[in-house]
């Protein structure tokens, strides 16, 4: 989007954007986390940002996707997929083809399956590293990106990752800019046909609105304001667990495997 600098090739960034859903009214909108991903991409210097959406196309999704165009883009690539299709193969193929250096996406979609697994499956398929919960991209130099990962309670972890990579953003990423009506209306959809693979499992599922479950009240027995503050700001008590340092990758993997077996994740 920005003029290329002659000395360095522009950083090619693809942002995966989805059609969101307003939590109160259910109206289609630009998804909040994806919009944050777009904002993150816009803040990168010398980046050539491309928007990519895979999914079905109708009037309401058009309007929602135009919300991303309104953030200052002239076009959005659209992989048209029928309802209920698994978008993963199509996305993997086009990403493999266009080979961007950085793929940014939200943690999970606001409608549809919303399992949050897509970035992981995509990374697995492409064989790229994945970093979740990004707060910022600090710099990109020589094919290595310095990232700031958001941890609970405002903590940040600085990571270096070799590109190409997939990163996901959550609410710690910068607030998306306003979507302007004019550019949104003028922007165009560049439709490409991708492979369509039916999601058979999804077709067999029964979908119903979630029932709101009562929230467990956190009862803080505190005598003073100081105690209340400590209770509010306290870190979650991590029972057990162990910190391994200076171990070989094999030992680390062994420890993880043991834990997963203990927790019945793997059987």
């Amino acid at each position: 989007m920005q003029p290329e600098v002659t000395t360095m090739p522009a950083l090619e960034v693809t942002v995966l954007v989805s059609v969101g859903r307003h939590p109160l009214t259910g109206r289609a909108r630009r998804a909040d986390q994806d919009a944050r991903g777009v904002e993150l991409a816009r803040s990168l210097t010398d980046a050539e940002v491309r928007l990519l959406h895979a999914g079905e196309r109708d009037v309401s999704s058009d309007a929602a996707l135009r919300g991303y165009l309104g953030m200052g883009f002239t076009e959005l690539s659209l992989l048209e997929q029928p309802e209920g299709a698994d978008v993963l193969p199509a996305l993997a193929e086009i990403l493999d083809e266009t080979s961007p250096q950085l793929v940014i996406t939200g943690e999970r979609a606001e409608r549809g399956e919303g399992s949050g697994l897509l970035p992981y499956l995509l990374a697995e398929r492409l064989g790229w590293p994945l970093v979740s919960g990004l707060a910022a991209v600090e710099s990109v130099e020589d094919g290595v990106a310095t990232l700031l990962q958001a941890l609970p309670r405002g903590q940040r972890r600085r990571l270096k990752v070799r590109l190409p990579a997939i990163v996901t953003v959550d609410n710690a990423a910068p607030t998306p800019r306003q979507s302007a009506y004019g550019p949104a209306r003028r922007g165009t959809f560049e439709t490409t046909a991708g492979p369509v693979s039916d999601d058979e499992e999804w077709a067999a599922w029964q979908v119903q609105p979630a029932r709101q479950r009562p929230k467990r009240l956190k009862i803080v027995k505190a005598a003073s304001a100081r105690d209340r503050f400590k209770a509010a700001a306290a870190k979650a008590e991590g029972g057990g667990g162990q910190v391994l340092t200076d171990v070989t990758p094999e030992q680390g993997a062994e420890a993880i495997l043991t834990l997963l077996r203990e927790e019945d994740v793997l059987r």
Binding site: H22, L24, T25, R27, R29, G70, M71, G72, R177, Q178, S179, A180, Y181, G182, P183, R185, R186
Partner: protein
């Protein structure tokens, strides 16, 4: 000698003026097209000048008389001078008439001199300070050179060496006068206001604002719709040439009297807006250049030193507001200047040249919001909420009637027809305004009014979206509201929100589908309650012995001309009404309009604080308002230490506590089984 010099001077000045006029017209014509009734406008111009314009000027009697003498004398003197001196026809009365005209003008110019001795801060200085001298030069010069023509002085007085010198001197004085008053009129001098102003009156973008005053109505105040179907045209005004040509002409008409500056709430609060400077900036942009030549009060700068002039510049095709990508970018005006406006229309009301400041500001905001996506403060969030939930607060649109769970309000969806459609507005989500609404419902029930509400079918009227420049969201809301309204039958709409009132009454008309039009009157609740009292449907038990003052909401008063009904209701209540110094059409804004609380541009003080200061001056116990925005703004004011808090009451609440509920007096409510009719209103 003078016989040759004078005609040469006069015709040279007229020729130069014509050339300047042609150049100036070309500047205006760079603006966008705008349809005007050309000949009808020109024909209506004298009346618009003598009636409408003078109606505003006459608020300052001395200045009005000064202007009548000076301008009237000048026009007459110039016309006669062309005949007498230019064409040499001094026969009979003409010379004497010219003497009278120039003498009148001279008398007027003496008052202009007096005015300029200690000019108030709102007046521009610079070239305007020399104007009285130029007026005197012209009138005196013409007077003296006319004396020989009527035979008072011998026509041979300019013979001989001394005579030659006198003639040269007189010609010089006349030339000075002609240069300022005739050539300067079209070449950008202070007298430009006469040339541009006359044409501005003829080709005004709102010709209906003149027509309406003749018929006892109120000037057109609804914003002009933006054509969203034209996908090629840039949205709103991003550069000076994006204004329509008659808007550009209007900017040129500014006489820099600063009446707008004196009444602007944002200027008084130290926010970076001065309507006069803004108009001058637009003139600078239209002609190209920097604002260094501006000689009036600059934009305030949040209580710090005023923003210096000379740092901003523009060109006809340059951006008005610097794009965000340019660091410390300065273009013609800063964005905060445009976002400081509360759209209270005080400037438009005071402007003797009939300039439409608010239209221009909203036009530029439209560009910032729709093209740049740069609505400041909470603006973007509010717009997103309006798009997603149809209300600015982002509340669940299914909960619009939660406040009235116990009132059993009849829904239009159920009854389908009613005498009154009660438009509740977004105040339904605000606990303070819910009290007002409950009071209003109680009043309507006491009067036996058959009313119904839209309930969850109602949406935000779109007022805030429109003032924030988001015309797209406004039009979407307007069209959907219109579709809802056209499903039901009712005689009128009543609302307690002047903003909804204005939008429903004056701005929805443009969005009705072809072949349909709004067929119902819209009333503010104060007007409607007054009608109920006058027709005897509502009985009040007077005897509230309190001292109150009334604050005119901008969107009820200046926008819709309703000053009387709320006062009549207060009179019927029997309370003692003390007026604030600025009330009626000069009422000062509460600071809550135009999205100003959302964009929240800092100043050195807050607008509602100043207005509550006005309230305290009256030593009233209560301030009565008729607008949820005003209520919210005033209740947010912390009284100075030691002062008692002044209660803020909506007029519906005042009426609700004064209802005469003795059985004999009460008309049987239509639905007598509802216990709410006699329920006490929380206050």
């Amino acid at each position: 000698m003078l016989d040759i010099l004078l005609p040469t001077l006069i015709f040279a000045a007229l020729a130069l003026a014509a050339l300047g006029a042609w150049r100036r017209v070309r500047l205006w014509r760079r603006g966008r097209a705008s349809k005007v009734a050309f000949l009808r406008g020109l024909a209506a111009m004298p009346r618009r000048y003598l009636v409408d314009l003078h109606h505003v000027v006459a608020r300052d009697k001395v200045m009005a008389n000064t202007h009548v003498a000076t301008a009237g004398g000048f026009v007459a003197a110039l016309g006669l001078a062309v005949i007498v001196h230019g064409l040499g026809l001094a026969e009979g009365m003409l010379g004497w008439l010219l003497l009278a005209a120039s003498a009148t003008m001279f008398a007027g110019s003496l008052f202009v001199v007096r005015r300029r001795r200690n000019p108030p801060a709102r007046l521009s200085k610079g070239p305007w300070m020399r104007l009285p001298k130029s007026l005197m030069a012209f009138s005196l010069g013409i007077f003296v050179v006319t004396l020989p023509a009527v035979g008072v002085l011998p026509s041979g007085f300019s013979q001989g060496v001394g005579g030659w010198l006198v003639a040269l001197l007189l010609a010089g004085v006349v030339a000075w006068g002609l240069a300022e008053l005739v050539v300067g009129m079209t070449w950008g001098g202070p007298m430009k206001h006469a040339f541009a102003g006359a044409l501005h009156l003829a080709f005004h973008r709102r010709p209906e604002r003149f027509a309406d005053t003749q018929h006892g109505g109120y000037p057109s105040t609804g914003l002009k719709a933006l054509d969203l179907d034209d996908t090629e045209a840039p949205l709103g005004v991003g550069q000076p040439t994006d204004f329509t040509w008659n808007q550009l002409l209007g900017f040129d008409a500014c006489v820099q009297c600063g009446r707008c500056e004196a009444v602007c709430p944002a200027f008084a609060a130290g926010q970076p807006l001065n309507p006069k400077k803004l108009i001058q900036d637009m003139v600078v942009g239209m002609a190209g250049g920097s604002d260094a030549g501006y000689a009036g009060s600059p934009y305030p700068s949040q209580g710090l030193e005023d923003r210096p002039v000379g740092e901003h510049q523009g060109s006809p095709h340059g951006p008005i507001v610097a794009p965000a990508s340019t660091k410390d970018g300065k273009a013609l005006v800063d964005a905060e200047t445009l976002w400081s406006c509360t759209t209270c229309r005080a400037c438009v009301e005071e402007c003797p040249m009939m300039i439409e400041h608010v239209d221009a500001i909203v036009d530029m905001r439209r560009h910032l919001t729709l093209e740049d996506g740069a609505t400041p403060g909470k603006g973007a969030e509010v717009i997103d909420n309006l798009i997603a939930t149809d209300n600015p607060g982002g509340f669940d649109p299914g909960g619009r009637l939660n406040w009235a769970a116990d009132l059993e309000l009849p829904l239009m969806a159920d009854v389908e027809r009613a005498e009154v459609l009660l438009w509740l507005g977004d105040g339904v989500f605000d606990m303070r305004n819910q009290r007002t609404l409950r009071a209003l419902v109680k009043v309507l029930r006491a009067a036996g009014v058959d009313f119904a509400v839209l309930g969850n079918e109602e949406r935000d009227s779109g007022d805030v979206a429109r003032r924030l420049g988001d015309e797209a969201t406004f039009q979407s809301l307007a069209r959907r509201n219109i579709a809802t309204l056209s499903q039901y039958r009712f005689e009128c709409i009543v609302t307690c929100d002047p903003h909804s009132f204005h939008v429903l009454k004056n701005e929805y008309g443009a969005f009705y589908p072809p072949g349909q039009e709004s067929s119902y009157p819209v009333w503010h609740h104060s007007t409607f309650i007054n009608q109920l009292i006058e027709s005897g449907r509502l009985r009040l038990a007077p005897g509230q012995a309190s001292r109150v003052t009334y604050h005119d909401p901008c969107y009820l008063g200046r926008y819709n001309g309703e000053y009387e009904a709320p006062r009549a209701v207060l009179k019927a209540l029997g309370v003692e009404l003390v007026e604030m110094q600025r009330s009626g059409y000069r009422s000062r804004c509460c600071g809550g309009g135009g999205g100003a609380p959302i964009t929240d541009v800092p100043g050195k003080q807050r607008i509602p604080d100043m207005r509550m200061g006005d309230v305290r001056e009256t030593q009233a116990e209560q301030v009565v308002v008729g607008c949820p925005q005003c209520t919210a703004m005033f209740e947010g004011v912390v009284p100075p230490t030691g002062d008692e808090e002044v209660a803020v009451k909506d007029i519906a609440e005042m009426v609700a506590v004064a209802l005469d509920t003795t059985p004999a007096a009460t008309l049987a409510p239509r639905d007598a089984s509802t216990p709410q009719a006699t329920e006490e209103v929380m206050s």
